[in-house]
């Protein structure tokens, strides 16, 4: 503690006044640094001015509260701030590119977007679906198991925070190569294999223990993830819309419920808003919380009951920033103030300072506001479930936050000041990467190339991970992450949430980090396309999107430049696809001694299917059925797995052609509704050859393909057609009797019949004059696909 700037009050607990009024700029910065509140000079000066008007110094509680509320993690300063870019000023990336899609489309089925813990769309007349995806990169880098587990725990609470019952989880992960050379590992960075096992176990333990199926996800491997692991945890919930209550008012009692408050998770958000360093391990370990999923399971039961009997006036979870963020946001949202009796908080540790209590991010806690007359009822419900719940204050009419500890007032700040930090002005610049397209001869043995691709970690089966997650609990999983006995990779998962309805929820995702090394715009566009086409492939439509950015330090103009580009793509493509964004989250400052992270945008797609009985899986069903390709193949191999296995990056990154793509998606949806398709699989990493192989071994039958029939823009080399990753494409299996009807539906799209299903269990691809270029047994293909990660967990 910086004694020289602090005056200790004569209280029976630690409380300090921080002398900022007499501080120079340099001292202000030092105070920010030493209190670990992560405020910039501009922000510290703003604080200074505020307290100067109040003619007093702030307490440590106040400064910490301000630090938490204004952190990048809680306030999203980069997305809300102003940015200079290419001679123009962008006033909030979020408003200009993300929220604008939703505003302009304003679909009637969006119930609540961006304003709450999770986005909510309508499911049927009475029910809504809530969905949220969180990033938990920083804590997972320091403590993989705890970081990932609390990531899942946190996002489940976001769903509880909109009164929804969590019914499914998702997880999308990014790791460094598992065979990364130990000698190249800088101090303070954990080996990818250690991080991988820890993260996977952490996610599984939370979801499994809470009895929420983990149904969708992806795992990417990239060198830039060695120093910064990527952990996205998502959760989907179901809620009766009539019971959605957020109408708190002054005099409502504030109740904290769930786990006790402890020293785990102090300064989590400050830590998450900074770069990782060699010291992170030692300095930031306390920032990682400790998970107890059973506590949250009980909490869930109680909250569901409280929702059903409608006795609370609002709810929110305690996540980043702990009480400081949850109570402040609640007061702000309902245009109230709040008075908190901090000493009433149930604690894990004795001797915690008030500021620690107020910003602790200990897990499994929620804040509810309750009309005073309902307090006893609510406490009774919590007691029944063995959940501790304690009234700790009330909302007030004036818009002031007052915190007392015993008889001592430890903080008194205007809510309006707390939620009006100085806006940042950042500079962004974008220089297109200047990487050449590689020039190499076509390999002689393309079968070998295909087998190699199937075993590349990004494409290889993730079965060894997926099976450690319960994806069946609740008995609502209609289309599972792994299809059938051979565990084929389904494009999306489908849930049937209601007993008395055939309507289903379709969950998909899209992520293409490798493209981000070439062009952030097309990376983002491709991720949206992938999320949408995966959803469409199984029968999803009316798709809502979630955006999760994982980026480097936005103070660096070129990092911010690529972020701006990606946001532009979000607007362009999502608008064209008529897929509104309903929620999102960003994790910036992902930099380590190894450098910045590859710009990574995860797009999650949430669609519906009117009748789950028409869902289509990706495994081929019967010999002699026809195989069609829908969509055009371009020479787009920049950032492809094919190039990567050859050691190239290239520059011909896949583009998105929204008008054509939309036609394709509509045609597929119609064909699915008419029952014209036996199987459907999207084309992504590894292109046509990999998709065909996956469909074949998942179904147990062979496929014959004539490559010359594949629609391409220009004459291309066979290997380019086989492995190009052009967007918006599907492989479809159609029975011979449905072919005419199917082709009628495909009118107006680019499509071609390119082969058929065979009884012989081989994938056989031929080219000009019937020359066979790929010929492999299903067993061989499947073994290559399964062996890479089979024993990693």
């Amino acid at each position: 503690m910086i004694r020289s700037y602090c005056t200790c009050r004569k209280t029976p607990f630690p409380l300090f006044d921080i002398n900022i009024l007499g501080a120079t700029d340099e001292q202000l910065l030092r105070i920010s640094r030493e209190l670990n509140i992560g405020l910039s000079l501009q922000e510290m000066k703003h604080v200074h001015a505020y307290f100067k008007k109040k003619k007093r110094n702030p307490t440590d509680v106040e400064l910490q509260t301000i630090g938490q509320t204004w952190s990048e993690h809680c306030f999203h300063k980069t997305f809300k701030g102003k940015i200079h870019f290419e001679g123009k000023e962008i006033d909030s990336l979020f408003k200009t590119y993300i929220a604008r899609v939703t505003d302009e489309l304003s679909p009637p089925w969006c119930f609540s977007v961006f304003e709450d813990n999770a986005g909510i769309v309508r499911f049927d007349k009475n029910h809504g679906i809530a969905v949220k995806v969180e990033t938990h990169n920083h804590p997972s880098a320091v403590e993989p198991f705890g970081g990932a587990a609390t990531g899942t725990g946190g996002v489940i609470r976001d769903i509880l925070g909109v009164w929804a019952d969590p019914i499914a989880c998702t997880d999308v992960l990014g790791f460094g190569p598992l065979d990364f050379d130990y000698k190249k590992l800088p101090p303070g960075v954990k080996h990818p294999r250690y991080v991988y096992t820890g993260v996977v176990a952490g996610i599984g333990s939370y979801g499994n223990n809470m009895g929420i199926p983990t149904v969708n996800g992806a795992i990417c491997f990239d060198e830039s993830y060695v120093g910064n692991v990527v952990v996205y945890c998502g959760c989907v919930g179901l809620l009766p819309l009539r019971k959605f209550r957020k109408n708190a008012k002054p005099k409502d009692v504030i109740v904290i419920a769930g786990g006790k408050t402890g020293r785990d998770g102090i300064h989590g958000v400050t830590f998450a808003s900074a770069e990782l360093t060699e010291e992170s391990e030692n300095v930031s370990r306390p920032a990682v919380q400790i998970a107890n999923p059973i506590e949250e399971e009980k909490l869930k039961r109680a909250i569901n009951e409280i929702r059903d009997i409608q006795v609370a006036s609002s709810i929110t979870d305690l996540g980043g920033g702990g009480m400081s963020s949850a109570i402040g946001e609640t007061a702000e949202r309902f245009e109230c103030g709040a008075t908190i009796k901090l000493d009433k908080t149930p604690l894990k540790n004795l001797g915690m300072a008030p500021w620690e209590i107020y910003i602790s991010e200990s897990q499994e806690r929620m804040i509810l506001t309750v009309p005073a007359e309902n307090l006893d009822k609510i406490l009774e419900v919590f007691a029944k479930e063995d959940v501790e719940a304690t009234p700790i204050g009330e909302l007030t009419r004036d818009k002031v936050l007052r915190i007392d500890y015993g008889d001592e007032r430890v903080a008194e700040v205007d809510i309006s000041f707390l939620f009006d930090p100085p806006r940042t002005m950042k500079t962004a610049k974008y220089d297109p990467t200047n990487i050449g397209e590689p020039n190499f001869p076509e390999p002689k043995d393309l079968t070998e190339v295909l087998l190699h691709l199937l075993s590349s970690p990004n494409i290889a089966s993730k079965e060894s991970v997926v099976r450690t997650y319960d994806h069946e609990v609740k008995g609502k999983t209609v289309l599972k992450p792994l299809q059938g006995e051979n565990g084929g990779p389904n494009d999306a998962s489908i849930l049937k949430p209601l007993e008395d309805s055939w309507k289903g929820i379709v969950i998909s995702c899209g992520i293409n980090p490798n493209y981000g090394k070439i062009d952030a715009y097309w990376m983002a566009a491709s991720s949206i396309d992938e999320a949408v086409r995966n959803n469409v492939a199984v029968g999803g439509r009316r798709i809502a999107l979630l955006d999760n950015f994982t980026w480097g330090n936005p103070e660096k103009p070129e990092r911010l430049g690529s972020l701006v580009k990606a946001c532009m793509a979000c607007y362009d493509i999502a608008k064209a696809y008529e897929t509104p964004f309903i929620s999102g989250k960003d994790s910036l400052y992902n930099e380590s001694p190894l450098g910045p992270i590859t710009p990574t945008l995860l797009v999650t797609g949430l669609g519906i299917i009117p009748d789950i009985r028409s869902a289509v899986s990706m495994d081929i069903k019967a010999p002699n059925n026809a195989i069609y390709i829908i969509g055009e193949t371009f020479r787009e191999l920049g950032g492809s797995e094919y190039y990567r296995t050859k050691g190239f990056l290239g520059n011909t990154v896949p583009k998105v052609r929204p008008e054509k793509a939309k036609k394709t998606f509509h045609a597929i949806t119609k064909a699915i509704d008419l029952g014209l398709m036996e199987a459907c699989h999207d084309l992504s990493e590894g292109g046509l050859a990999v998709s065909a192989a996956e469909m074949a071994f998942a179904g147990g039958y062979g496929i014959e393909i004539d490559l010359k029939k594949v629609p391409t823009e220009t004459q291309e080399r066979d290997d380019f057609i086989l492995f190009s990753e052009s967007n918006s494409r599907f492989l479809v299996e159609v029975s011979s009797k449905a072919k005419d009807d199917f082709e009628r539906q495909m009118k107006g799209t680019v499509y071609a019949e390119i082969g058929k299903v065979t009884k012989t269990p081989r994938l056989c691809i031929s080219t000009t004059n019937g020359k066979v270029i790929v010929d492999a047994s299903l067993k061989n293909l499947q073994t290559s696909w399964k062996r890479t990660l089979s024993s990693e967990v």
Partner: protein, 272 residues
């Protein structure tokens, strides 16, 4: 007993998480089922108002000691008398996954000589280790004692999912052969892991998903009224829960787990 009179108690504690689908499955069979918290039933002392007791899957109290151990002790300590009366009246008790672990930890299964004061078997950590969620095949091997399979022909293979990390059924090593013989003599073996065609898994993963001794997936007590199994029949209840429904020409009307619950109802209907 008339169907309308049947009331199934689906008991839960903190960490139980398969109660809703279990209840739903019973209701689908036109009997009443209620999810009851252990706290409530301890307070009301009304276990005997129910005709059947189900301990569903989950992670009771986090399973921080051993799967089912905490719940088992609490059950005996707080509800021991009622439970004994329940068992003595041959009222059926079903333990699924975590519920099976509880029944073993509580000494109710295998229950060679009635309820034992210590666990006579265990559901140990899987081999290969770790949580595993997959669909497997089990073969019905009971000769007629088990009331939970009275409507399932002997030798029939069922396709059902497992999802657990502690499911390896073991008997004390030194008495293994003798006790196995006893299980057979008493007709206590109900389900064994097998391949699609009903041939024994012989310990091979993933056919036998946890390394269970003698491929044992489910056992009952000598009376056949207490039954525990690791697979989840309630998750294999509807046709659309099956992993391969999209490739079946003629989709069956229901999943393979359903007859287990139907058998229970049928037993109760025939019970005086």
């Amino acid at each position: 007993m008339k169907k309308e009179e049947i009331n199934v108690c689906v008991l839960r504690v903190g960490g139980t998480n398969c109660d809703a689908e279990t209840k739903q499955a019973f209701e689908e069979l036109d009997v009443r089922a209620r999810v009851v918290h252990l706290n409530e039933i301890i307070k009301q002392r009304n276990l005997l108002e129910y005709q059947a007791l189900v301990l569903p899957g989950g992670f009771s109290y986090g399973d921080y000691v051993r799967g089912g151990a905490i719940w088992a002790k609490l059950l005996l300590a707080k509800l021991g008398k009622e439970l004994k009366a329940f068992v003595d009246e041959n009222r059926p008790i079903l333990g699924i996954c975590n519920g099976f672990q509880v029944l073993v930890e509580a000494g109710l299964l295998p229950g060679f000589e009635g309820a034992s004061t210590y666990p006579e078997a265990t559901l140990a950590t899987n081999v290969p280790p770790g949580y595993n969620c997959r669909w497997i095949s089990i073969k019905h091997e009971n000769r007629g004692k088990c009331v939970f399979t009275c409507k399932i022909p002997r030798g029939k293979t069922l396709h059902v999912p497992v999802a657990h990390s502690e499911g390896r059924f073991l008997l004390p090593k030194e008495k293994e052969d003798r006790l196995l013989q006893r299980l057979y003599d008493n007709d206590q073996i109900v389900f064994r892991y097998c391949n699609k065609d009903g041939e024994p898994a012989k310990g091979r993963f993933p056919l036998n998903p946890n390394g269970s001794f003698h491929d044992i997936a489910g056992v009952c007590n000598p009376e056949g009224t207490i039954f525990g199994l690791m697979p989840h029949p309630e998750r294999a209840f509807y046709w659309w829960q099956q992993p391969d429904w999209t490739r079946q020409d003629r989709v069956p009307e229901s999943g393979d787990g359903r007859p287990i619950l139907e058998s229970l109802i049928s037993y109760l209907e025939n019970k005086s």
